[in-house]
Symmetry: C2
């Protein structure tokens, strides 16, 4: 199944269930892998704040940053100003690279919409920023495919639902070249 | 667990999963019970159109009506003008009683918000309309408790998630008085 492709026999209720179950499975899998690794966590696409809430419950001690065009999340899930990047991803991610450097141990890109063309362009645009923010050994999860030498595709956990998702292990390009 | 009460140990992602799984379980249960009974289906609270989409997939031949304050659903889930009641529930339900009478075999009231006081007042306000729209032998599902002589609480199916939901079988008041 390609990214963004609809599972034809699922209705919107069923599709949402599969999507959320998949997100939870991927987040839990990556999170357990970074339990003893330092680094910040980035949520690209705060949305309703559901996965952000899940992440901060799992990492009460870790620094989390959220990105979104504008705030649509309930007030109790919205991070403070220092941890919220508002505006076009292409701009805010550039700012984040300057401010945070290669410090992210987990990046969750929850950027998909119902517009495939828009999603593909956005995925392409943000990938270079993601690779500048993600530290080697870290993880990138995304609901759209991301292509970069640093991002090595991983198998999904068995607990995912019937919804396309992507997990990448971050390697330094140097490591890739050496192989 | 009281209606609208938060399950304390679930975050927003987990709670949404439990909510949607519960809705699907209740809708599937009630739907299978009305398979051979005629009557229209009412969705109070179209929202994002997820449960409405689920209902119309299950009942491609049946007449479905949706109610909401305003449209927030994707265009492909929004019913045509004849099947959409837009505005305050207290007004649109009154109009629906005049137009549809006691013709509903299934009413799904998906009205809950994060404001318990508002929800309780709304549940109280719409209950008399619901009992005028629901035909005896039909079903009312709700994410908030509804109290009326005609609404007889039922056990939830075993497949529900960890989220409060309410299923009522509709009886004529006359039947209740006779018991």
């Amino acid at each position: 199944m390609k990214e963004g492709e609809r599972v034809p026999d699922l209705d919107r209720l069923e599709r949402m269930i599969e999507r959320l179950v998949t997100q939870r499975a991927c987040l839990d899998f990556a999170s357990s892998s970074i339990r003893n690794v330092s680094g910040v966590v980035l949520e690209l696409g705060l949305g309703k704040g559901r996965t952000f809430d899940h992440l901060r419950r799992m990492f009460p001690e870790r620094e989390l940053f959220a990105f979104d065009r504008e705030v649509h999340a309930p007030i109790d899930v919205v991070p403070d100003e220092q941890h919220l990047f508002l505006g076009d991803f292409r701009h805010t991610l550039e700012v984040a690279v300057d401010r945070l450097g290669r410090s992210a141990v987990l990046i969750h890109a929850d950027i998909g919409s119902e517009d495939k063309v828009r999603d593909e362009a956005l995925a392409l645009a943000i990938t270079p920023f993601i690779t500048q923010l993600a530290q080697p050994g870290g993880w990138v999860l995304s609901d759209r495919a991301l292509v970069a030498n640093e991002l090595v595709p991983q198998s999904l956990p068995l607990t995912v639902g019937n919804f396309a998702y992507f997990i990448y292990r971050v390697e330094s390009v140097l490591m890739n070249v050496e192989r």
